[in-house]
């Protein structure tokens, strides 16, 4: 591992430590928390898209499983929130693994199709099973208790999420530099070549897909408890696209790019709210312009421009 590999992590942690004392009000604190939650999801998704070169257009579906596990199991069956969260993650992992094995023998657009299909089916199921999920209107989520201590205020949530984000950045940096990470990058470069040197391509792809899906599910649970309410929009196609966009705009295969992408795209709808009615047009235009002029994403493009490695 490079000597200064953790330099960026220290900066991230420093920013996270200072942020709650400089945000002007609770509106911005809420925005920061949602940015951090998205950043963790995007870190996981970037491992799949950026490093392993595989596309998922259905990640919001996995997020939905986590979120609804945390909503439905404690509400209807009295489960402990942590147990519900774990159950969501396990179900997501099993489902992702089950689906991934046959899909990952395919390539490119077929994979996009299969993940997209899976996401849409999950979303339709959430919308239709109204007796459990509240249907299109959504349902409230009980608060999260940790060892007899209620997680209620935004300040408490902030520290929990900041910790999760720091750990995720640290884990991603390590993973990329591990034999596992090198195998992922190898199969992104050339599957045949990596097979020749003994990388079990399908196994690695399944592993990273399951991992990023579980990430999404866990953060879905966190989102559900933090917001206190879940709606099917959390699991819809558009949200899947938003997540992929965060990865690509920030920069594929860039850990810090994931953070930048998550921060920008979480803030963007707030910034565009002033356009009244033109939000969709503005959002679409920004997506297109970014991709046309910076197809590699912000962080790698800027890093190349200023002559620094990522």
């Amino acid at each position: 591992m490079k000597k200064n590999a953790y330099f960026g992590l220290y900066i991230v942690m420093a920013i996270l430590a200072v942020l709650p004392f400089i945000v002007p009000n609770s509106f911005y604190l809420d925005l920061v928390i949602r940015m951090a939650i998205n950043a963790v999801i995007v870190l996981g998704l970037n491992l799949l898209i950026g490093f392993a070169g595989q596309i998922s257009l259905g990640h919001a579906g996995f997020l939905g499983i986590g979120a609804y596990a945390s909503a439905v199991l404690p509400t209807h069956f009295g489960w402990h929130p942590l147990l519900a969260m774990a159950a969501g993650a396990v179900v997501t992992g099993l489902l992702a693994g089950l689906v991934a094995r046959p899909i990952f023998k395919l390539k490119g657009h077929y994979l996009a199709m299969a993940t997209l299909g899976l996401g849409i089916i999950l979303n339709i199921a959430i919308r239709n099973e109204a007796q459990w999920t509240g249907g299109p209107d959504g349902m409230p989520v009980p608060t999260m208790g940790l060892f007899g201590f209620e997680l209620a205020s935004d300040k408490q949530w902030y520290w929990v999420v900041a910790l999760l984000l720091s750990v995720s950045v640290w884990a991603s940096l390590n993973l990329i530099d591990s034999p596992f990470g090198r195998a992922l990058r190898a199969l992104h470069g050339s599957e045949v070549a990596s097979q020749v040197v003994g990388v079990d391509v399908v196994r690695y792809k399944v592993a990273i897909f399951v991992m990023s899906a579980v990430f999404a599910s866990l953060m879905g649970s966190v989102t559900a408890h933090y917001v206190g309410f879940v709606t099917p929009n959390l699991a819809d196609f558009f949200h899947s696209i938003e997540l992929v966009t965060m990865v690509v705009i920030g920069g594929m295969a860039s850990v810090y790019g994931s953070l930048v992408g998550a921060v920008l795209l979480t803030a963007l709808p707030q910034a565009l709210a002033t356009f009244e009615g033109w939000e969709t047009v503005a959002f679409g235009s920004i997506l297109m312009l970014c991709m046309i002029f910076m197809p590699k994403g912000l962080v790698p493009t800027l890093a190349a421009k200023f002559g620094k490695g990522d």
Binding site: A112, L116, S190, G284
Partner: protein, 291 residues
């Protein structure tokens, strides 16, 4: 029993023809450029919405319909020129996001211009249903099926009997080789976007009198068109048409016999099953990878 089955079949084939036109659009662009155009559904929406707008503005039906096909074709060309050509050879996921961006812009503009209401278009030759063995068939369904059949024949002629069509086919087989024999591949890309958009718009116009339209119908229609294209084996024109019909019929049968609230999920369940068991689609050929 039979009447009910026929009824589902009629509605399935009608919607399926729209999916088939959308799937043909996906196929044309995919063959010319390896791009999956996620804005395809918006061309379907544009066709329907513009047809409504121009007929309500008092234009005679044929003129309104012609404009409602021409304008989306021009929009398709603009998307290709401004957003696809400048990034030739970019990563798949980059291209996917660009086309999604384009679809948002198109949908957003229509929402601002024509609002969020649902619109309908009068059927081309009346609403008097035709009785067949106890089931009813709308005259508009015959329009949908007839025009789709004509389009398929015309496309077959274009790709097999004309130089331009063969140039497009050659480009889809091997771009570099096509350029070597003097085919202008950027013209091919240009044509494929214009034709895809026009096909999508045509489908949207034809089906609007039956299914109604609004600014946001493009997403689902487009995604189902994509499913149809993959069912038929991505890149295979005949497969796309059969895939579209199959998706439409299964959706109507599923909605009728199993559950109408899961209607929209049926195409996606189908595609997952097909990808698991026949990864190249029903009609896709074998392919090998180049290292």
């Amino acid at each position: 029993m039979l009447a009910q089955f026929l009824q589902f079949l009629f509605s399935g084939v009608t919607v399926g023809a729209t999916y088939a036109l959308a799937a043909l659009g996906f196929t044309l662009i995919y063959n010319a450029s390896n791009v999956i155009n996620f804005a395809q559904g918006e061309f379907i929406m544009l066709g329907g919405m513009l047809a409504v707008y121009f007929t309500q503005a008092g234009l005679p039906l044929p003129v309104a319909l012609l404009l409602a096909i021409l304008i989306p074709a021009i929009v398709g060309i603009i998307v290709e020129k401004l957003a696809i050509e400048p990034v030739k050879g970019a990563e798949t996921v980059t291209l996917i996001i660009i086309t999604i961006g384009a679809s948002l812009v198109i949908r957003g503009l229509i929402q601002v211009w024509l609002g969020k209401n649902t619109f309908s278009l009068p059927a081309f030759s009346g609403d008097e249903p035709i009785q067949i063995l106890g089931a009813t068939l709308l005259p508009q369904s015959l329009w949908v099926l007839g025009v789709t059949a004509l389009v398929v024949i015309a496309l077959w002629y274009f790709f097999n009997r004309t130089l331009q069509g063969k140039a497009m086919l050659a480009t889809s087989y091997n771009r570099v080789a096509a350029e070597l024999v003097g085919i202008n591949t950027s013209w091919v890309l240009f044509m494929s976007f214009a034709m895809s958009a026009a096909l999508g718009a045509l489908g949207g116009i034809l089906v609007t009198p039956i299914t109604l339209t609004s600014y946001d119908v493009g997403i689902m229609l487009g995604l189902k068109g994509f499913v149809a294209a993959v069912v038929g084996g991505l890149g295979n024109g005949l497969g796309a048409v059969l895939g579209g019909l199959l998706v439409g019929i299964l959706e109507a049968m599923g909605a009728g016999y199993i559950s109408s609230s899961y209607k929209d999920a049926i195409p996606f369940v189908l595609i997952l099953l097909i990808l698991f068991f026949m990864p190249r689609g029903l009609f896709g050929g074998k392919s090998t990878d180049r290292v």
